[in-house]
């Protein structure tokens, strides 16, 4: 892989508009995500960041605009298609199966990769068993990577929030995505948990060459992690550059401080 920031374009959104009734959530937003980079999407509350992620993985259908993914153009993405084609995500409010253990939650991330049908799985014999072992091995690698051995058998609902976030990242990794969308991976975490999460994100990017787009409020985290930052405000893109440049941008400062500009 070449320099992370100089890779080819993996995904691009072009002039995306999204309206809910009278509310213009996104207007003519365009930016691209290059292969191998960590791309941050920032902005004040209600700027349209999560809506943008939802458009990318197909939860929302944009009113106008085009999504280009691996050279193909779509007027809308579909969640199932996105998942099968290597786009995984985590959610702002953790969305795990709370009654299931960490291990089982991670195994659900492998569902799309299981080839044997329902009845084979019921038999749990021969090829179905081999397949389960293979997937379990992949999941154990992730458990080791995220250092969550101690909670392997604990139902997710009983875990503290910071660990639930970690499990959710694990489930996204289990799908072996090409593009990982992280919606505020550090909210509600203490400093140590944030540092751990930063370490995992950097490792995922460096070790597996995974492309990452993340929404984050903590400017320190954004500065440390991302190669490029796109800034949204009231559904519009107001800046798109390297983090150090974006931080100095008067429009961005105004948006964050609420100065009429």
């Amino acid at each position: 892989m070449t320099n992370a920031a100089a890779g080819e374009t993996l995904l691009a959104v072009e002039e995306i508009c999204l309206r809910f009734g009278g509310v213009q959530a996104l207007s003519e937003v365009s930016f691209d995500i290059k292969r191998g980079e960590i791309r941050a999407i920032i902005g004040p509350n209600g700027a349209g960041k999560t809506s943008m992620l939802n458009v990318i993985n197909g939860f929302y259908r944009p009113n106008r605009g085009v999504i280009r993914f691996r050279g193909q153009s779509f007027t809308r993405m579909r969640p199932g298609f996105a998942a099968r084609n290597g786009i995984a995500r985590t959610f702002q409010n953790v969305a795990l199966f709370r009654g299931m253990t960490t291990l089982d939650n991670l195994m659900t991330g492998r569902t799309l990769k299981m080839k044997r049908g329902f009845f084979w799985q019921l038999l749990r014999y021969g090829p179905a068993m081999d397949e389960e072992i293979e997937h379990r091995r992949a999941v154990e690698e992730i458990i080791d990577f995220l250092e969550i051995e101690a909670i392997r058998r604990v139902p997710v609902g009983r875990l503290p929030y910071g660990l639930q976030k970690r499990v959710e990242l694990g489930r996204a990794l289990a799908t072996e995505p090409e593009l990982l969308l992280l919606d505020e991976p550090m909210t509600g975490m203490n400093l140590e948990e944030k540092e751990d999460m930063c370490r995992f994100i950097l490792e995922v990017n460096a070790q597996f060459g995974m492309t990452i787009a993340l929404i984050e409020h903590d400017m320190g985290v954004v500065m440390d992690l991302s190669n490029r930052v796109v800034v949204l405000d009231y559904g519009r893109k107001i800046a798109d550059d390297a983090p150090a440049v974006v931080k100095q941008d008067p429009a961005v400062i105004a948006a964050y401080l609420g100065v009429a500009g």
């Binding site: 379990r136 154990e140 690698e141 250092e147 051995e149 101690a150 490792e203 070790q207």
Partner: protein, 653 residues
């Protein structure tokens, strides 16, 4: 070991085990969720390859090989590979800060180091300019190290693989390995253990391999360990307790050492392995009991009642049954029922189902804590030894167990009590001196070869050794009453709500103490009693928490009042510290012992307040975070006065 000449080095023991226990497991590690094991013959093959690899990195006879990390099979093999070449392994505590690691590596003059992961590599790199002789660092886990400059960094797998390759390609190496092995003698230094030291910089305790093996053979015979025993290695690799009682004993008896998946999974791994032999300092047992008590407080009323009844029953009769004394039939029947509904399930949850021999040592254990585990049928015993002893001075034989002693002397150990009450011993495995520190060595060993323990104690009529306290810590109040701080602190620490206690009183008018709350236990209590708090500091300073601790202090005072010798040493004033005592701040040793003098200096203002009449005191304390940054915690602390309990003698008068 009667079939042949007893080997005089640990690598020779390894080759012997590879012959007599070839197919039996020697090490296990839970990795990626699966227990993986290595047999003795596999371990021998790996160690041979490892030794070749180390030799190619330039490790030679007499040079020092540092080992930093948690309990991992490959780090244990590092000891054997170094010893095979005649090099000296020096293990270091994995949670030491960079400075401490720098000091020891520099003092020992380490030539090579093997470390577990990136964290340890980072620490060495921070202090690398102080370490001119350190030629290379080997790491076990490659994660995060990909982009590091690999000039002097080597992955362990590569070292092992190159060793195996070399052995396959050059048959002459086998003969060279045999010669290296044969070069090892009983007079080789087999390990240097740096003691955490309650005072000053760590000192390197040098152990000779022949002496060590002689001492191990006594201890194996004492508890009849065989290759069928099982142990889980979870204590710091650099601690004498782990090195002697787990690693060295395993090599002699041939039993399997299992390594947990991570520090957080020890409890779960205990349940999976079901060790027959267990060793832990009192603190570990304290933590287990606290966790159990807290979990039971959350259980339903019915379960709680059953638990209370049978634990109280066990406290009355359990020890008698374990000690093989006569008890009436109905007591036996009731105890059997208790085993079925409480004791066995509890032991199973703690991973103690198959325990045949368990030891606590390292510090005095509270008698109540000790008898709790014995009463539920666990053969927990006490032993006494120091890093300098190599293994044990005294140990309790089965059925000879008492809460107030550390047992009878081990075979071939001599003990005498000095005039000031200090225990001095001569043991078959004892150290030959501190590495590069003749002055300290001269202070520790008497001209006639006895080692000074620094502990005060006495031998009773039955030959049991009693340890009261550190001899320098035993003092007197101004009115002459005996003041043994640790004795008082242990009584306090038996309450799950009290994590740490430091008592003062030597040369003073009365006894006072600093207390640390146990965040788990008190936090849980606060939740059930609607005590709102936002931080440790706030909880520790809460009026109701202080009142709760005052009840415990009152109970200890009543206990002290029972004995004429201790009645004068009741606690008159105490305060609850605003921060947890921490090894990173130098307040505890790495093995979590209180550094009394340091605390007295650091909190001098608080101690003075305890002896002046004031009701509150302002405290500002500097703390060091794990990454070396510093910060300050400040608080206004309340002081609580206690009414002394009348001594029994006075009541009678």
């Amino acid at each position: 070991m009667t079939d042949a000449v007893t080997p005089d080095t640990f690598p020779k023991l390894l080759t012997l085990n590879a012959r007599r226990f070839a197919g039996r497991p020697a090490f296990r590690l839970k990795d990626r969720g699966i227990w993986r094991s290595w047999t003795w013959s596999e371990v021998e093959r790996e160690v041979r390859a490892y030794a070749v690899g180390l030799s190619r990195l330039g490790l030679r006879r007499g040079q020092v090989f540092a080992i930093i990390g948690n309990n991992r099979p490959k780090l244990y093999w590092s000891f054997l590979a170094a010893q095979w070449l005649g090099a000296i392994p020096v293990p270091l505590y994995a949670d030491s800060i960079a400075d401490e690691i720098g000091y020891v590596l520099n003092h020992a003059g380490a030539r090579l180091a093997v470390v577990q992961d990136q964290e340890q590599v980072d620490k060495i790199l921070t202090v690398s300019e102080q370490l001119p002789v350190l030629a290379a660092v080997i790491y076990e886990e490659p994660r995060g190290l990909r982009d590091y400059d690999h000039g002097r960094l080597y992955p362990m797998d590569e070292i092992l693989a190159s060793g195996h390759r070399a052995l396959a390609e050059e048959p002459s190496l086998e003969a060279w390995l045999e010669a290296e092995l044969a070069n090892g003698t009983a007079d080789d230094i087999c390990v240097i253990l740096y003691t955490s030291g309650t005072t000053g910089r760590p000192k390197g305790v040098q152990i000779l391999s022949g002496r060590a093996i002689a001492a191990v053979s006594d201890s194996i015979a004492f508890d009849r360990f065989t290759e069928r025993d099982e142990v889980l290695a979870y204590l710091p690799l650099a601690w004498a307790g782990d090195h002697y009682l787990t690693f060295c004993q395993s090599l002699y008896a041939g039993f399997c050492v299992s390594c947990p998946e991570s520090a957080a999974t020890v409890q779960e791994n205990m349940r999976e392995i079901g060790p027959t032999y267990y060793f832990g300092p009192p603190r570990v047992f304290e933590t287990l009991l606290t966790a159990t008590t807290v979990r039971m407080a959350d259980a339903g009323a019915f379960k709680r009642a059953i638990y209370r009844f049978f634990i109280a029953f066990a406290r009355r009769h359990g020890e008698k049954i374990l000690n093989g004394r006569e008890v009436p039939l109905h007591v036996r029947l009731c105890y059997a029922l208790g085993r079925f509904v409480v004791y066995e399930p509890l032991k199973n949850a703690l991973g103690f189902s198959r325990i045949r021999v368990a030891y606590t040592a390292g510090e005095a254990i509270g008698p109540d804590l000790f008898s709790f585990f014995r009463s539920i049928g666990m053969n927990l015993k006490q032993a006494y030894g120091q890093t300098e002893t190599f293994l044990l001075v005294a140990s309790q034989a089965d059925h000879q167990v008492r809460a107030d002693t550390v047992g009878q002397l081990m075979p071939r150990v001599e003990v005498r009590i000095a005039e000031d009450g200090e225990v001095q011993y001569r043991s078959p495995g004892q150290f030959i001196g501190y590495f590069r520190d003749a002055e300290k060595t001269a202070q520790a060993i008497t001209p006639d070869g006895f080692v000074k323990t620094g502990d005060a104690g006495f031998l009773d009529k039955t030959g049991h050794l009693h340890i009261i306290d550190r001899s320098k810590d035993v003092g007197h109040l101004r009115d002459g009453a005996l003041f043994a701080p640790k004795f008082i602190e242990n009584k306090l620490k038996f309450f799950p709500n009290i994590r740490e206690a430091v008592a003062f009183g030597d040369g003073r008018d009365y006894v006072t103490c600093l207390l640390n709350i146990d965040l788990t236990a008190v936090g849980d209590w606060a939740e059930r009693n609607d005590v709102v708090h936002g931080s440790y500091q706030e909880l520790a300073g809460h009026d109701r928490v202080i009142a709760l601790l005052a009840e415990h202090v009152g109970a200890v005072n009543r206990d002290l009042a029972l004995e004429p010798a201790t009645a004068g040493a009741q606690i008159r004033r105490f305060l609850v510290l605003h921060k947890e005592l921490d090894a990173d701040d130098g307040e505890l040793t790495r093995t979590q012992k209180v550094r009394r003098r340091f605390i007295a200096e650091r909190y001098a203002k608080l101690v003075e307040a305890l002896y002046s009449g004031v009701e509150t005191v302002e405290a500002a304390t500097e703390v060091v975070f794990e990454d070396g940054r510093k910060g300050t915690i400040s608080a206004r602390i309340k002081i609580y006065d206690m009414e002394p309990v009348a001594a029994l003698a006075e009541l009678a008068a």
